[in-house]
Amino acid sequence: MITIVLFIFAMVGFAYWWLWRQRVLEKPWAEVGPKADTREEIGRISSAAKTGLMFFLAVVTSVFALFISAYFLRMELPDWSPVMKPEVLWINTGLLVLGSGAIHWCSKAAASNNLRAVQVSLFATGLFTFTFIYGQLMAWGQLNDEGYYLNSNPANAFFYLFTGLHALHLLGGLWVWSRTTLRVLAGVELEEVRLSVELCRTYWHYLLGVWIVLFGMLLST
């Protein structure tokens, strides 16, 4: 449970630090008038969608941190025997890095109103990400062929669980990606998809980070 406790400490620490900056020490009863908000003063009215996404990522991190906690606790029991790590995972990691890079490029292109680049990079993002997921399925197939079944050892079960969950999150991202792509193909102003692309970028980078943590953990145990 250490992992999740550390995560919670980080979240609570951040929340308290943030609250501190919101002047929780002020004496509200002593001040009258339409007082300016710290939101304005800091000059960063980040959009609601971004705030929502940040909280969503906190929820997802909580899920993964809990699974990782469970992983380490379960690993200590005697019946654990490590799972094979298919080579293809390395290629997949490369693909996900490319996907993340492509969406990053896309958000740059959207900011500079370069329609052609947006189209190409959106396409590349989808291509790399779908190939990544296909590659993960290949890894599953290899494990199955070698006899590492889901229910024959907890290490295997965790492997399927981690990879499956991660891929499901990517599929959720791809859903937003497909809607954005359709809108670009339908020819809407780039301005209107800029936010979606930015949100996708954050989400892809985040899931890349999660995958690197998971992959590192699987490799080292």
């Binding site: 999740i4 919670i8 979240m11 509200p28 339409p34 908000d37 929502g52 809990l66 379960r74 654990w80």
Partner: protein, 580 residues
């Protein structure tokens, strides 16, 4: 740059006109709140009926042939789960959160109305899945609301066929619904506050709901994770939680799993869950006390810090539910310490409530009665909690009726009293009509004294060592006849309290049609929801202009002002005019 509140940016809200878009597929936070509220109360009634059936068995054993041991376990489980999750969590956050947050912070709606609507329908789906488990082969699960493996999924436990799967599925769906709603609540508080509404000017109700939502967003994943792993154990035969076992003479295929791992995950969610229910109650009760005592809340800042502090601490106490699970005694010492530390901010809140009443101009309106009743039951449940937080005291009392009495006092009766108080308090705003005050007061006294006569005697049963989750107690040597008689008395009180709730439902429905017009601000309250141009507020809440906030939420009985309250949106210049 002029501050443009988020709700006023972008395209104007479109106002739907057909009945369906207005009341069924509505994206209006107030309609969604009422949908959440009615659904939650409806399942709550199911849970109440189940508890009545359980009490019948305990009070009059061997009388009712339709209650067999397995049904008893199924009813205990469903009762507990429904009350905690599908009633209280949904009602406080989905119901009151939805209704109050946008109105209290001066927004036109939640920031993601579509997601908000989806949240309700997914919640309804989770309720339907849960209820359907009554009708499948084997019935609902009887594993206890804690769902501990291995027994939760072993055949022999009632509902091991389908009940447990539906329960896990329903929880999964509920968590998705909660997450969709929760993202809305936090983002609305952070992004859609109107001009002048700084964080430290928010009413404590919003602080409580906001913090509880953050807790929920971080804690429900633990339930999600344990539900996923348990489903895999049950359906695909993995061994996350399931140890090697022999069942009905046969070796199962499970091997090496850890039931204690489940307990850690479950309580990592389960303890914060207590505060997910309690913090909104704390916040709402603060506002009720202040309004009806015509006095500013005592120690507003400390109240905010206490809410936030309790929220943080609630994540490091979970193992106090596991003192008897055989974990390392040093852990027990650590968790007992953190548990007792939480008592400090909690006690501060209690003192502040009492000090708010001190020399206030107390109006014993119905909501106020419920709020004061809450202080009693909460102190009571809080004190027994300090007993149970200590390992040496908990060991003999664990799994006895003392525990049942404790948690019903602190997270059953107390939040329910706040729910009633809050419904009475905001009923005039929600419906535009006034409820019948005499019936309201009768409802309070009968409920308050009735629940005391249910739960006070249970503490004595606990001292005698009467175990919880038992179907029958006859023929157990250490349980005297007097304890069985006491059980009969408790059952009579419980049935009485259940029947008394008819007064409440009658009052709510009757007043809807026949109640007097309430006016926009019958209690003389300061917070923004009472200052809307229309009562009940229409879609979009405010007229053409959003309100501007000039002061904190507790300007009651300000010296020099003519009226004994100054609404949050009244500027200082207009107050002076009113001053005599």
């Amino acid at each position: 740059m002029a501050h443009v509140a988020l709700a006023d940016r972008g395209q104007a809200l479109s106002h739907p006109h057909s009945f369906i878009t207005k009341y069924v597929w509505s994206q209006d936070h107030k309609v969604i709140a009422i949908q959440y509220g009615i659904t939650a109360i409806a399942v709550g009634v199911v849970a109440l009926v189940l508890s009545g059936i359980m009490r019948l068995q305990l009070g009059f054993p061997d009388t009712f042939s339709f209650i067999q041991p397995s049904e008893y376990y199924q009813f205990v489980t469903m009762h507990g789960m429904i009350m905690v999750i599908y009633l209280l969590t949904a009602l406080f956050l989905g119901g009151f959160g939805n209704y109050l947050i946008p109105l209290m912070v001066g927004a036109r709606d939640m920031v993601f109305p579509y997601l908000n609507m989806l949240s309700y329908w997914v919640y309804l789906l989770s309720v339907i899945i849960l209820m359907s488990s009554f009708f499948v082969t084997g019935g609902p699960t009887g594993a206890g609301w804690t769902l501990y493996p291995p027994q939760a999924i072993m055949f022999g436990t009632p509902g091991a066929e389908w009940g447990i799967i539906l329960m896990l599925l329903s929880l999964f769906v509920f968590i998705i619904a909660f997450t969709m709603g929760g993202l809305n609540y936090v983002t609305t508080v952070l992004q859609a506050r109107t001009r002048g509404m700084t964080l430290m000017r928010m009413p404590l109700s919003v602080w409580g709901i906001f913090t509880a939502t953050v807790l929920g967003l971080l804690a429900f994943p633990a339930l999600l994770v344990s539900a996923i792993m348990m489903t895999l154990d049950r359906v695909l035969g993995t061994s996350f939680f399931m140890p090697a076992m022999v069942s009905m003479g046969e070796q199962t295929n499970y091997d090496g799993g850890s039931p204690v791992l489940f307990q850690h995950l479950f309580w990592f969610f389960g303890h914060p869950e207590v505060y997910i229910v309690a913090l909104p109650a704390f916040g709402i009760v603060s506002d009720l006390l202040s309004t009806h005592a015509r006095k500013n809340i005592f120690g507003y800042r400390m109240m905010v810090w206490a809410i936030v502090g309790i929220g943080g601490l609630s994540f490091i106490v979970w193992a106090h539910h596991m003192y008897v699970s055989g974990m390392n005694p040093y852990f027990g010492f650590f968790f007992a310490t953190t548990t007792l530390i939480i008592a400090v901010p909690t006690a501060i809140k209690v003192y502040n409530w009492v000090l708010t009443l001190w020399r206030g101009n107390i109006h014993l309106n119905t909501p106020m009665l419920f709020a004061i009743g809450f202080i009693f039951t909460f102190i009571h449940g809080g004190l027994t909690g300090i007993f149970l937080g200590n390992v040496v005291v908990d060991l003999p009392l664990s799994d006895t009726y003392f525990v049942v009495a404790h948690f019903h006092m602190v997270m059953g009766v107390s939040p329910i009293l706040v729910v009633f108080g809050a419904i009475y308090h905001w009923y005039p705003k929600i419906t535009g009509k006034m409820f019948d005050a005499t019936l309201g007061k009768a409802h309070f006294w009968l409920t308050f004294l009735g629940t005391y006569s249910i739960y006070l005697p249970m503490h004595y049963l606990g001292f005698l060592g009467v175990p919880r989750r038992y179907f029958a107690y006859e023929g157990i040597d250490f349980i005297p006849q007097s304890a069985l008689d006491l059980n009969t008395a408790i059952t009579i009180s419980a049935l009485f309290v259940a029947v008394v709730q008819i007064i409440f439902f009658y009052n709510m429905i009757w007043s809807l049609f026949k109640g007097k017009q309430a006016g926009s601000n019958p209690w003389g309250a300061t917070t923004l929801e009472w200052q809307t141009p229309d009562t009940p507020p229409i879609h979009g809440n405010w007229g053409p202009e959003l309100p501007v906030v000039h002061r904190w939420a507790y300007d009651y009985s300000v010296p020099g002002a003519e009226e004994d309250f100054i609404p949050q949106n009244v500027p200082e210049s207009e107050v002076d005019k009113a001053a005599s």
